[in-house]
Structures are given as C-alpha cells and as structure tokens.
C-alpha cells in the first residue's frame, strides 16, 4: 500500500510539472510579441539582447569545444572500425549525418542547459525570494513579460545559431582527424560533406534546437518561480532545473528521432 501511495504521489508530481510547464509556456508565448524589436517594446527587446549575450554568446566557446572534441572522437572511433571493412570513406558521412541530425543539437542543448537552466532558475528564484516578482506584480508590470519572455525569445534565436556553429565545429573536427590520419585534402572533404548534407536533416536539426530551447528555458523559469522560502531553496531549484532540463532534452530527442525514423525521413537521400 505504501509503495502504491509513493508511486501515485510521484505520478501526481510529474503531472503537476507537465501542467505547470504547459501553462507557463502559453503565458510566455502570448507575451512574445511584446519582446519583438519593431512591434513590441524597445526595453524588452534590449533585455532580450542582453539575454542573448548571456545565454548564447557566452556559451559559444564551451559548446564549440565540446563539439570539436565529440567530432574528433566520433571520427576516430568510427575510422578504426570502418577501416577493417575498407570503408573509411563513410567516416565523413557518419560525422556529417551524426552531427546534423543528432550531436549538434544535443551537445549544444546539454551545454546550454548546464550553463543557463541553472543560471535562469537561480536568477528567478532569487527574484522570488527577495520579493522582486511580487514587486513587479504590485507595480502592475507583468513578470512573465518582464523576465520570462525576453529569455525565451533570446533562447529561440541563439540556440539554433549555436547549434549550427557547433555542428560546423564537429564536422571540422572530422576533417582535422582525417587530414592527420590519412592526409585527406580539404577540397575532397568538403565535397564529401556537401554530398552528405541533406536539407531535411538541417531542418530537423533546427526544429530540434527550438524544442530544446523551449525545454531549457521553461524548466529553468518554472523551477525558479517555484522557489519558496529562503536562499537555500534557490540552491535546490538550480539543481532541479539542470537535472530536469537535461533529462527532458534527452527524452525529447528520443521522441523526435523516433518520429523522424517512423516517418521514413531517414532513408530518403
């Protein structure tokens, strides 16, 4: 009986999470037009630009280096296996397809969720603790529009850019490996890359990065908004934000990829 209770309790918490996330998502989406540069408010756009620097630009070195390393590892591991079948040429395909479909968005999302989900939940959690959110409400300023919407817009813009850049880094790392190990010419490598890249994969990559941006920002904001009590609650919320957003990013990745394959989009080249 106790076990049943615990399982039920855990399930209720998950359902609550999902409900709260959906509610927050729509309330933020409704406010997004206010953040846009021309039709919205200039101050919101300015804070969105600040957020772009915080979420996007400063994550660039980290996600770039992570992508370089992963690209190198992927090429190295696959080359040693494929060489046994005399199929080293496929290393390029593997790196390109692997990065556009999977690793580019995933690595970017993981590095951003580690950096920004925690930062966002800490920032908003502190605002809750110090009554800044209450102050905004009492002043008649919508905290969703003031704090959440600029962050979401910033992530929606910067995450696809970061994803493209880290995918390029990964593909470049593949070249570096092949150039050193088998003296591959850059021109030949680029030709092979151009043959392997499909528009559909790139579109899939961008859609994924938008979904990941949504997950990271909303989990971070929700955990921050939920902070009750003192500063130590902020610490808990940052941990929860990173754990939950990382977990959800990977689950969403699985679901997305499964749909991609079930629709048969993977085989048509």
């Amino acid at each position: 009986m106790k076990l049943l209770e615990q399982v039920g309790q855990a399930a209720i918490i998950r359902v609550e999470d999902a409900g709260a996330l959906t509610l927050q998502f729509w309330s933020v989406v409704r406010k997004l037009p206010r953040v846009l540069p021309v039709v919205g408010s200039r101050r919101r756009w300015r804070s969105a630009v600040e957020q772009m620097l915080a979420i996007g630009a400063s994550a660039l070195p980290m996600s770039g280096i992570m992508a370089l390393c992963t690209g190198f590892i992927l090429a190295l591991q696959s080359a040693s296996e494929l060489r046994r079948f005399g199929a080293v040429d496929f290393v390029v395909d593997l790196v390109v397809i692997g990065f556009t479909r999977e690793l580019g968005p995933l690595i970017t999302a993981l590095s951003v969720s580690g950096r920004s989900a925690s930062a966002i939940s800490a920032e908003i959690g502190t605002m809750v603790v110090t009554e800044e959110i209450d102050a905004l409400r009492v002043m008649g300023v919508d905290p969703v529009e003031f704090t959440l919407a600029p962050k979401y817009l910033a992530a929606l813009i910067t995450l696809p850019c970061l994803t493209v850049l880290s995918t390029l880094c990964g593909i470049f790392a593949g070249y570096v490996f092949l150039a050193f190990s088998m003296d591959m010419n850059l021109r030949i490598y680029l030709q092979a890359v151009a043959e392997a890249v499909v528009l559909r994969d790139v579109a899939f990559m961008l859609v994924k990065s938008l979904v990941f941006a949504t997950i990271i920002i909303h989990v971070g904001c929700l955990e921050g908004m939920r902070v009750r009590g003192g500063p130590e609650a902020v610490g808990h919320s940052t941990t929860a934000a990173v754990v939950k957003s990382t977990f959800l990013v990977i689950v969403a990745d699985l679901v997305g990829t499964a749909i991609f394959y079930l629709m048969g989009w993977s085989s048509i080249r």
């Binding site: 110090t130 009554e131 800044e132 209450d134 409400r137 009492v138 002043m139 008649g140 300023v141």
Partner: protein, 276 residues
Amino acid sequence: MTNSGAAKAGDPVISIRGVSMSYGARRVLDRVDLDVHRGEILVLLGGSGSGKSTLLKHVLGLAKPEAGSVTIEGVDITSCSVSELGAVRRRIGVAFQAAALFNSLSVADNVALPLRELTRLAESTIKLTVWMKLIAVGLSDAGSLYPPELSGGMRKRAAVARAMALDPEILIFDEPSAGLDPIVAAGLDELILFLKRSFGMTILVVTHELESAFRIADRIAMLYQGRLVAVDRKEEFTRNVHPRIRQFLERQPDAAPVVAVEEFMTSYLRGSNNDY
C-alpha cells in the same frame, strides 16, 4: 495627493471585511475586519506566524481569500477584473521587506522603472521626478549607485522612493525596520512620519517592532493566530488588557517552548538522551 473629490480625512481607504484564509488545515486568517482611514498611519502588529504577511498579500491582491473581501478606494480587489486591479495598484506604493530592488538597475533606474513601464512621460520628466523622489527620501546623491552597493537603510529608502514614484495615495511598508540598527530604523520612522505630514498619504505599516510602532502609529491593530485581537488608537492600545497584547507589550516569552528547551537541556546534560 487628494485628487478624488470625495476624499476627506476619516473615510476608509482600505477596508478588509471578513477575510479568511487557510493553508491546508491551518487557519492563517480568521474573519479579519480592518479599516484604514484616509491620512492615517495604521500599524499592523503581530508576532511571526500571526498571519500579518498573509493579510498583506491579500491587501496587495497577490492572493485571493477563501472568504471575505478587500476594498481599496471603493474597488473590491477580490472580485474585480485584472485591469481594475491594475488601476488600483497604481494608487498603492509598496516598500517590501527585502526592498525588492532590481540589482541590475541603478537606484535611479529602479525608481524610474514604474514611470517608464506605466506612463508615457518624457525621459526628462522622468529624470526630474526620480530626482525629486530621491531627495524626499534623502538619497539625492545615491542615484547612480547599484543596490548591492547600498547599506540596508539606504536600500529601504530607495524602495520607498520607488514606491512613491507614481505619486500613490496609499503607501504600504512591510517590516520597514527589520534588519536595521536602531539609529537607521529611527531614521526610517522619521521618514514615514515626514511622508504623512508633507504628502498626506495613507500609510499601512506591517511590523513586529513595538518601539517603531508606537513612534509612528495613529492607530494600532494587532493580529494573533490569524485573528484581529485589537484595533485602537495607540494611547488606548497600551491600556488593553488582552493577555496576548500584554504579553507582546511586556515582551514576555511563550512559556511552553522555554520549559521544553530547559527540560531537553537538563536531560541532555545528564546524558540520558544522547541519541539526539
């Protein structure tokens, strides 16, 4: 400040009627009735856990009561529309306990925030208004500083300046002297009295500091376990015989916890209870 025609000293600006609230099984507010009259300073006294913060949340429209109503300037904020609530909130300035200043903005920008967000005033007008508010609270030379660079008392003053930005008729202070040394706290009390004298504001102060309460209050209300046990002019309030008020005024501790601690300590020292 008196822009509504019917405004005269004495009529209720905030009127709380039968407000009840509970969290789970715990009753936090139990049918609270309270009026704040125009131009007075009402101090809401209460110990920790007495429900005074919860009552404040209801007055600000941050929480909805289970029963009862809160009427501010003739508008029932428990049942009005969002835009009406916004209009009422414009007439209220709130200085929060933790000041609630935005750390990324300078003091002047913090004070300017409500003006920039809610009005279409020209930037030069906003600058002038901000400067006047900062002078009123005695921070005229701190406008360019950032909140983390301020002392506790300065931060509270900055919060007051921001609360006054839109020229509200009602000012609400949550624990104005919490965490301040006596001299700075006294300075803040003087500021509250000054605001009432010179702007005729209606002021509601929520606090547990007796000294400060008696210095500034016209009337004192006392909450205990979610119930309003007394509302009186401060002169009469000191003569109130309600045991809880006597205890509060004479600063007597609750008997039970002290005894429990003593028992625990003696048994602990005897070594009979070392598994704690």
